[in-house]
Amino acid sequence: MAMINIKIEGISYQVEEGLTILEAAKKCGYEIPSLCAFNHGECNRGSCRVCLVEATGARGLVAACVYPVAEGMEIKISSPAATAARRHSVELLLSNHNMNCQQCDKNGKCELLHVAYVTGAREGAFQGVHSETHLDTVAPGLVRDTSKCILCGRCIERCKNAHGLGILGFENRGFNTFVSPAENRSFADSPCIQCGQCVNVCHTGALMEHSEIDKIDAAFAAGKTVIAQAAPAVRAALGEEFGFPIGTPVTGKMVAAMRRLGFTRVYDVNFGADLTIMEEGTELLGRLTNGGTLPMITSCSPGWINYAEYNYGDLLPHLSSCKSPHQMQGAIIKSYWAEQNGIDPKDIFVVSVMPCTAKKFEKEREQEKVNGIPDVDAVITTRELARMIKRGGILFDRLPDEDWDQDIMGDYTGAGVIFGVTGGVMEAALRTVYFKLTGKESEPIEFKAVRGHDAGIREASIDINGTTVNVAIASGMKSAKVLLDEIREGKSKYQFIEIMGCPGGCINGGGQPYVRECFLPNESDDIMDTYKEKRAQALYSEDERQTLRQSHNNPQIVELYEKFLGEPNSHKAHELLHTSYAAREGFNEI
């Protein structure tokens, strides 16, 4: 790459040709305040007009995020004109912004407020009418409040990049513009998979998860037996909310915090993950040996399930009939655990802590109930758990490391832990399938060929006792679509496919802590590129620390089958642990 000479504030620098002023300045040690520019140009509309600077050769001030550097360019960031222009841009954004910050769930993580502080923008500098507010609180997973939206377009780009979907778009024109699914529909009435990736990139409170903290408060107030269970990916990211470096596993402190929040039991969904492997592995073996529908596709990710039901109704027989791990575990809590403890299932309230917003939708499905009783009553995100911990005045970093409750479903294996990262369910299943087919454990235990931490497709051929099993892994619906179209065209060479809704899997789920450089001063410059890998590593290291690393070796799982379920895929297991799917219209009649 050719280098060119530029000056910033009169000081000479050499930078790569082709960079924008914003990127070049960053390399020279300047953070120009900006809003809409995001993640190496993933969103680069130059729409917010915050990053204005002076540059020689340009007419007037230029938006640094879209204006390229040129040989001999002199850039001024701190000139009076540029400083005032940036402040005015933010003041104009604030003039049409719903400033009820104290009620806003993005409070503390709001980039608009951050930039307002940095630029010195004042609320009320410009006064006038506000554009009409559109509020969508209908969908179980997501909330859209256009009174907070600054029309940057990040959410639109993320939905396209991650999933090839583009559920959101700009509607109408000029002052009446707002971001919305077509026809200003609710997320619930559009083919949105409620994955929450748009929430993860939204600057402000315009896109949020649908909070269920109130439901938990009400359950405690009603004297219910409130049981919490947390997904593997939560422990890999919760620490970020309390200042721990990205990639710090905080399992012990998380358990301690949840106990202090008053939950009767604190369980690891890893037990449910082990249970899923027993059921799903058996299902796969059955399909392989009895000529069932292949390839079989995993069913743990509710965002993926939504996508399949909206777009690939003809391929639903390929999906494993297994419920996702937290739903399985909820069903066991409300049957086996309830029976053992002599509690009426109706008095039990199961809270799942998930890295996911689509799980909020999943738990509402009719197919996720047993005799009319939902397996899970409330789903909160990693972020919501952090909010509850803060609300409870719990000093997270001072907590001791505590262990999960051990009765009935406390044991878990390393196979369950890695569910939280793309390729993890596949690897966990292979460990057990290998044992079932050969009668011995795989050596080495790991199937590293299926590992990764990013979107895109990975494939591997695994030799088990002379039989070759072809597997593929995809995360993000854009990648998944490639594999699905192959199946539709009869060209798929795989027997088993893992699909996760979010790029990188649950560690990058729509309910995980926001990763924003401006709020992470102690992380490295490339954190936007490395955070998924770091979170994934937190889970792989926990797997390595476990003495039990295959689901079928979990003694409490063995006991559960002996005492309660019988065999994997038994009648009782089907009643409690399996589900069904149905094709759905994307834009339903409203």
């Binding site: 639109i156 396209k160 979907l165 583009g166 559920i167 959101l168 778009g169 700009f170 509607e171 109408n172 024109r173 919305s180 699914p181 077509a182 026809e183 219209e585 994307g586 834009f587 339903n588 009649e589």
Partner: protein, 161 residues
């Protein structure tokens, strides 16, 4: 979602196929559909999305951005009153108000008999003959308020034939 009948679906697909070599075909496709059917409802947008790979939200955004496109069926005669700067200073507001009064509809609406739709347009590039009114492609130059009733009558007669 209401389903398109087979003939309409085939026609929409044919329109999409006209522009497969274009880099950015959306505007042309939507223009042709608007001209063919007089409006572009969501189910049509879904089909265009399937054919082109452009998301429904983006298509919907384009349809709601340009006043030329319509989500609702338009009348047999679409009266477009230019309210661009030149037409406006030459009295276009009074002209559109007169149409509005005589047809008893607001700009953007369609008369109950389905004959007339009244649209307020931004500059149509006919500033030299301001104020200009365009009806189904025919442009009326230097329209005065007094002519409005006559213009409407001529189309009523045309419809009655």
């Amino acid at each position: 979602m209401a389903k398109l009948n087979a003939a309409a679906a085939a026609k929409i697909e044919e329109i999409c196929d006209r522009y497969t070599d274009e880099k950015t075909p959306l505007m042309m496709i939507l223009s042709d559909i608007q001209n063919e059917y007089g409006y572009i409802p969501l189910e049509v947008q879904e089909l265009v999305s399937k054919k082109t790979g452009i998301s429904v939200a983006e298509i919907y955004g384009v349809v709601t951005f340009y006043s030329f496109f319509s989500l609702e069926p338009k009348g047999k005669f679409v009266i477009g009153c230019c309210l661009g700067t030149a037409c406006y200073v030459k009295g276009a507001q009074q002209v559109i108000d007169k149409f509005s009064e005589l047809l008893n509809i607001k700009p953007g609406q369609t008369s109950e008999d389905g004959l007339f739709t009244l649209d307020a347009l931004r500059c149509i590039g006919a500033c030299g003959i301001a104020p200009a009114v365009s009806i189904n492609g025919k442009v009326y130059p230097k329209v005065e308020v007094g002519q409005v009733a006559g213009i409407i009558d001529s189309y009523r007669k045309e419809a009655a034939v």
